[in-house]
Symmetry: C2
Subunit: 507 residues, 2 copies
Amino acid sequence: MKNKVKTAVTPTRVEDYPEWYQQVIKASDLAERSPVRGCMVIKPWGYAIWENIMDVLNGMFKATGVKNAYFPLFIPLSFLEKEAAHVEGFAKECAVVTHHRLEPATDREGLVPAGPLTEPLVVRPTSETIIGESFSRWVSSYRDLPILINQWANVVRWEMRTRMFLRTSEFLWQEGHTAHATREEALERTHMMLEIYAGFAREYLAMPVIKGRKTPSERFPGAEDTLCIESMMQDRKALQVGTSHFLGQNFARASQIRFQSPQETEEYAWTTSWGVSTRMIGGLIMSHADDDGIVLPPKIASAQVVLMPIFRKPDDKSRVMEYVKSLEKELSSRFYHHRRICVEVDSRDIGGTRNWDWIKKGIPLRVEIGPRDIDENAVFVARRDRKHNDKTSMKREDFVGGIVNLLDEIQQNLLDRAAENLHAHSVKIDDAASFYDYFTPKNSEKPEIHGGFAHCHWCGSAGCEAGIKEDLSVTIRCAPFESEAEEGKCIRCGGPSHSRVIFAKAY
Amino acid sequence: MKNKVKTAVTPTRVEDYPEWYQQVIKASDLAERSPVRGCMVIKPWGYAIWENIMDVLNGMFKATGVKNAYFPLFIPLSFLEKEAAHVEGFAKECAVVTHHRLEPATDREGLVPAGPLTEPLVVRPTSETIIGESFSRWVSSYRDLPILINQWANVVRWEMRTRMFLRTSEFLWQEGHTAHATREEALERTHMMLEIYAGFAREYLAMPVIKGRKTPSERFPGAEDTLCIESMMQDRKALQVGTSHFLGQNFARASQIRFQSPQETEEYAWTTSWGVSTRMIGGLIMSHADDDGIVLPPKIASAQVVLMPIFRKPDDKSRVMEYVKSLEKELSSRFYHHRRICVEVDSRDIGGTRNWDWIKKGIPLRVEIGPRDIDENAVFVARRDRKHNDKTSMKREDFVGGIVNLLDEIQQNLLDRAAENLHAHSVKIDDAASFYDYFTPKNSEKPEIHGGFAHCHWCGSAGCEAGIKEDLSVTIRCAPFESEAEEGKCIRCGGPSHSRVIFAKAY
């Protein structure tokens, strides 16, 4: 017992990382599995994070001229078939609507599908083809370009093995779709959106990311180039946080998005698409959560502060609650990075469970207020990025006046820790034996936590990439933009290479 | 020609009201039909209205303790079947997913559905049953109640005859779902949400509404009581703008939402649901649009002001644009009812088309700025609620300083006009002959615009209700809360009645 510290979540990360992930989601009340295969229920504490993500990204998108719109949930099968690589990529995971009503079964109780559709409809796995059809009608001259559209929507990609937030059959996302008159302008937009994602991940989610380019085998089906941001989780696996695709003229050809140029020639438009999803919340959990629950970065947290009144005697109640209510009002009227500070008041009389509930929910600041604190006009403050029993008494005015700095400090602390994890488990490896050794679990106590980001040379062949994936379940996450030109030999075949790529296991 | 005034939209309301509705949507760039049967594309100018609706309603909901969450798109068929009246009500309009992938056809080119599902999934037409399943797990004691949840989502109800915004197979909406320990509390919530809808429609959409109760035949399938708000469109038909349902214990029984009471007995919860949808935008159009396009109430408008620079000579351009940019900045930094004023700048050099584009789009204020205006530090302002050529020169500082009042004046004016329309076409009718005459089109020039809201006595029998519906396509919109007790005779059978209900044709 002596060495065993009790944690709020069981098992711990070291004991069983995948199970810890499920339990931490349960403990924090973010989401739950639903009885519908592969779908999840996002509970209020989890959905509030998504609302904050939408709010911040909307502002960033709109500042670059992007406007929101909404396109149909269903895509006629024939639309999906227009781009060969695209349909190939999504055919194996499409939910297909084949009927439009239900009628009583003839052989038993209950209802059966009826009213068969002439052409089956696919529930959108992504909307390039259906949005392309609109673009083809919206564009006729170069003067109509660029078109800069974003949609917040649910999409469905049928999954056999699901993991909440990371891989679910239905998920929420935004998908941006743009059309341009020139290749250069479309490329510029592809990079611009990746920069927005990278900045958002770093500044709001406190997740340091690596920007780079996918290999051909990992590209979006139908894209000419896929850019991505990759982040390292606490088990040292990579998570793709966002992608931005340069689609060349492939989808413009498939959907006939044509325009008359200033020279009066008929041209195909150049298009892009880019997206992030509720997967980001999975990344947020695995970047910051600990064995006591999730840890929310203040800038994106469902709420920043919980006030917990303490009554020792029944007589205290009205006095304490009055004080708490006035503090709630004062804090809620202040802003933290353009949004009002969100304050929860929890006056449940349930003992220590109350404090632990909020630790598990990852709220940045827990504040206890009892009669003695009020006598001294003070509050008792605990930070989620410190030990659970590390509490400080602060004068109320200092707490209120300094709350923005306090939250910023927590935000920065989480980013620093995540950056440290990324740094500590990034290596350069130049020989095959070390490479294979690096990705082989050694410590039987924590088999799930091993490896990291291996910066290695690769000859560029799909064969070497596939061989490594088969042997180790390790993939090339990206060719980082920051990789310097450097001559080397492919980690698998020894063939020539001119810069390093990142190999890692991934979600 | 003399009497024929040219309008921006053809046909006019009087000429062909249904066709005018389609054309006004096209002219205003709000939305378009999609190639997917029954689905629409909501374009940026239309979607911005929906974003504003979401923003305002979110604030109103949250102030009453409601939290947002997200539940699965798909509902297992067996869930839907749990409540008999419910499944009966929706079976004829369900999109059914029967397969989870596509594979190459054996008899031709192309793909066919594959991977049949053991149990078909229905694309949610509404979420009582799937949310009820979660509630059944969230509730065990009276201490867990109430649960107050809302979800913003897309839903699908297959429609054969569609009309943009008013009736589409897929639409966007919010659906609130609450569970309570007592009947009284659930009833209170049902009424509370109706009041929120009514206030929102009036204050933001400038639509006067009548609050009332649906007859049993018009109730939500499975509800014990359906409350509604009904508004009158310009063709005097009724539009149901929002509904709030008291579900009794029906869905709690179907989904087993049970709790232990303070007396330690096991009880079924009392539930409610309530929703408004993109249909509101259809109502907005038909309440305020004229023969020149839509007219947006400032509080919910996609943007409030467009600035249109005028250059007579190329030399003017930089000076005018600088002035326009500074005015844009000044206006955008001001607030109109808790939201920043949204300003568009249109510097396209396309002649009079520019001005008409914005008239058709219904922006509340159009502002022209040329070199002469700048010399006088003035702007040339046109209001959408006045004639298109009614323009006023205003000092810049007066315009900026008075813009909130100006917008409020427009908002009030639209509400007054809509209220006038409602008042002018509301009648009490007490004999069958007059009733039938009232709902029979007389003027061959405008057969679509006739009738109104007939406040009549009704005996309460479903037979009389159905008979009138069959004869005239007129339905009972609601029994208004404000109807006074009054003895009378049923308009159809002459049987006794104790208060009036509203009969009307409806969307």
